[in-house]
């Protein structure tokens, strides 16, 4: 798993690439935990470079989502750009109902900007 981080309008966009499975789960948790660094943090995960995600990768995303809810101050966590396979895993595990998912990174940025 590789990543790149850019900031746009105060929103941290984390571009992930590579599969997200058990072997990556702890590193991914650290990476996302570091981005949700305090009240008001807004983080958008770009999944367009992720070919597959398993239940452990989904678990990290849900933990990050809860962490953002917990820090308060308008902190927000969202995901964007999931391909068909990744989107299907969100649906099968029913986590698509818990998380904020957007079709594309621009859609996600727009939603987080409006919400701030």
């Amino acid at each position: 798993m590789d990543h790149e981080i850019e900031t746009q309008d105060g929103i941290k966009i984390v571009h992930l690439s590579g599969p997200l499975d058990v072997s990556q789960a702890l590193a991914l948790r650290e990476l996302l935990g570091a981005q949700i660094d305090g009240p008001g943090a807004r983080v958008l995960i770009d999944l367009s470079g992720v070919p597959l995600i398993d239940s452990s990768g989904i678990g990290v995303m849900v933990s990050a989502h809860r962490r953002a809810d917990g820090v308060g101050g308008g902190a927000a966590f969202a995901l964007a750009g999931a391909g068909a396979t990744v989107a299907r895993v969100f649906a099968l595990t029913r986590t698509d109902r818990l998380l904020r998912l957007y079709d594309s990174v621009p859609d996600g940025v727009e939603a987080l900007r409006v919400a701030s």
């Binding site: 058990v22 678990g59 029913r94 818990l98």
Partner: protein
């Protein structure tokens, strides 16, 4: 792109019909080689034989050749002409596993093994007819370029067809089981079968199904395939601290989700790329269906589609089993209630069923029976005379009385109870020497639970007395049991009763009415 190529490509990405995919292979082969006839064989599940799966021959357009299809053709005037026929089955051999020219019953053909991307042979393509010198160089080169995609399409078609057939077989088997014994489905067996099918259909390395046996409790692993040794005992599936966070589901089944939380445990348990799906019915969690795709495992959308289908099937099965179990519990409660109501009609039969059950269990234990037998004896004891509900007060009551064991057994034989329960109810008036009723069975033709129940009922009935007879004393009971040993009662069971009596452990007296 030619039509055949387009069709071949389409069959790769679409959910094509099995026959259409095989047709596409033969059409593409015909276009590449310029030959009219083609025969496609696929390896059978044993791997030792190849079966003819599809043909493409001029027979359809030119009936005079008839190289494939029916073994013979009707000629004008009714005479029968036997056409040369293509073999329906080939025994796999080294000769068939390389590309070559072959003389076959339908002419000289070019033979090409079809391989999966990993090199395994999935089938054999024969195209022709070709001249004595074999397929031309250009045609051979064009076919060579096609070999890999043809193998890929054939492999995919074969696997999907195999899964489809297995599913159809599983469905038929499930339907059979539903009909049998009024839907008493052997849940673990069928869930295990579905898990196996899911593994072969999706290419997953391992998997498990965990079931919530009682609402609010942690799911328990009921079936696991290829999981590390001890997985079922080691995995913690409790809702709060376990491998998965169940809380969103438990709080709101309809809107909740299943989240893998304990990554360290996942690593420890040998999971690599698990997809765990919550099994929900009407918003209530029933369990987890999980597949692990292994270290190098990948999955695509169609794999996940299959996973979802299998999860739905398991959900349906769990829901049916649960509904049936609830129905059975309530029904059995009604039958027990009927037995209690019968006992309450006369003072001397007060608690009759309860006492017979207790004595039968004591006899079973004295005979060294296990807990399962004890459960069956208790259940049978609690309902053994319920068939009398159809006898009491009916004209010609004596016939109905003789039939009450059969009637009683018929009330419970379709329930998911050990067969020994209905067996004991049906035979509790049989005698060891064949003089009992309703069937006059002998010795071990009578199930052991029936032989035990027979003696238990005798002891309770005679030890209680009725409106016309005083209760027998323990001494009288002991004397009579010893006398009837080998005639009315199984000697081994009579001896067990005598041992209990000698120890003062035979309690047949009523608890008071």
């Amino acid at each position: 792109m030619s039509d055949a190529w387009a069709e071949l490509a389409a069959s790769l990405i679409e959910h094509g019909d099995f026959d259409q995919r095989l047709d596409a292979i033969l059409r593409a082969t015909g276009e590449a080689t310029g030959t009219p006839d083609g025969y496609l064989y696929l390896v059978d599940p044993s791997g030792r034989r190849l079966h003819l799966a599809q043909t493409r021959a001029r027979a359809a357009a030119d009936p005079s050749r008839a190289p494939a299809g029916p073994l013979s053709q009707q000629l004008e005037g009714g005479a029968e002409w036997s056409a040369p026929t293509v073999p329906l089955e080939l025994v796999r051999s080294a000769a068939l596993e390389r590309e070559r020219t072959l003389v076959t019953p339908v002419g000289t053909m070019h033979s090409l093994p079809l391989r999966e991307p990993d090199g395994r042979i999935i089938g054999l393509l024969q195209t022709g007819p070709v001249g004595a010198r074999g397929l031309g160089r250009g045609a051979r080169r064009r076919l060579g370029r096609l070999a890999a995609p043809l193998g890929f399409v054939a492999g995919r078609a074969w696997r999907e067809e195999t899964v489809r057939r297995q599913l159809a077989a599983a469905e038929a088997s499930l339907e059979g089981s539903r009909r049998l014994a009024g839907a008493a489905v052997d849940l673990d067996r069928f869930v295990g079968l579905l898990l196996e099918l899911a593994l072969s259909g999706t290419g997953a390395r391992s998997g498990f199904v965990a079931i919530i046996e009682r609402p609010g409790e942690a799911p328990v692993v009921r079936v696991a395939a290829n999981m590390p040794p001890g997985f079922a005992e080691q995995v913690d599936l409790s809702p709060v601290d376990g491998l998965f966070d169940w809380s969103p589901l438990l709080e709101d089944g309809d809107g909740g989700a299943l989240v893998l939380e304990d990554f360290e445990a996942a690593v420890r348990l040998g999971l690599n790329a698990p997809i765990a799906v919550p099994l929900l019915e009407r918003g209530e969690p029933l369990g987890i269906f999980a597949l692990d795709f292994g270290a190098s495992g990948t999955f695509d959308e169609s794999t996940l589609e299959l996973l979802g289908t299998f999860a739905d099937q398991v959900t349906l099965m769990l829901d049916n089993a649960r509904l049936f179990a609830t129905f059975s519990d309530r029904y059995l409660g009604t039958v027990r209630g009927l037995a209690v109501a019968l006992d309450a009609r006369r003072p001397h039969t007060h608690d009759h069923h309860e006492r017979v059950a207790a004595v039968a269990v004591a006899l079973g234990r004295e005979l060294g029976g296990d807990a399962t037998e004890a459960d069956a004896l208790r259940e049978a004891g609690l309902i053994h005379d319920v068939g009398l509900a159809g006898a009491v007060g009916i004209e010609g009551g004596s016939d109905a009385d003789v039939e009450h064991p059969t009637l009683g057994a018929s009330l419970v034989e379709h329930l998911p109870l050990p067969p020994a329960v209905a067996g004991a109810v049906a035979t509790h008036h049989e005698w060891f020497d064949g003089w009992g009723f309703p069937r006059g069975l002998h010795g071990e033709e009578i199930p052991r639970t029936g032989r035990i129940l027979a003696l238990a009922e005798f002891l309770v009935e005679m030890g209680t007395g009725d409106a016309t007879r005083e209760p027998w004393s323990l001494e009288r009971l002991v004397t009579d049991v010893a006398e009837r040993r080998g005639s009315q009662f199984d000697p081994e069971i009579a001896d067990a009763a005598l041992r209990l009596a000698a120890r003062g452990a035979l309690d047949v007296a009523p608890t008071g009415a």
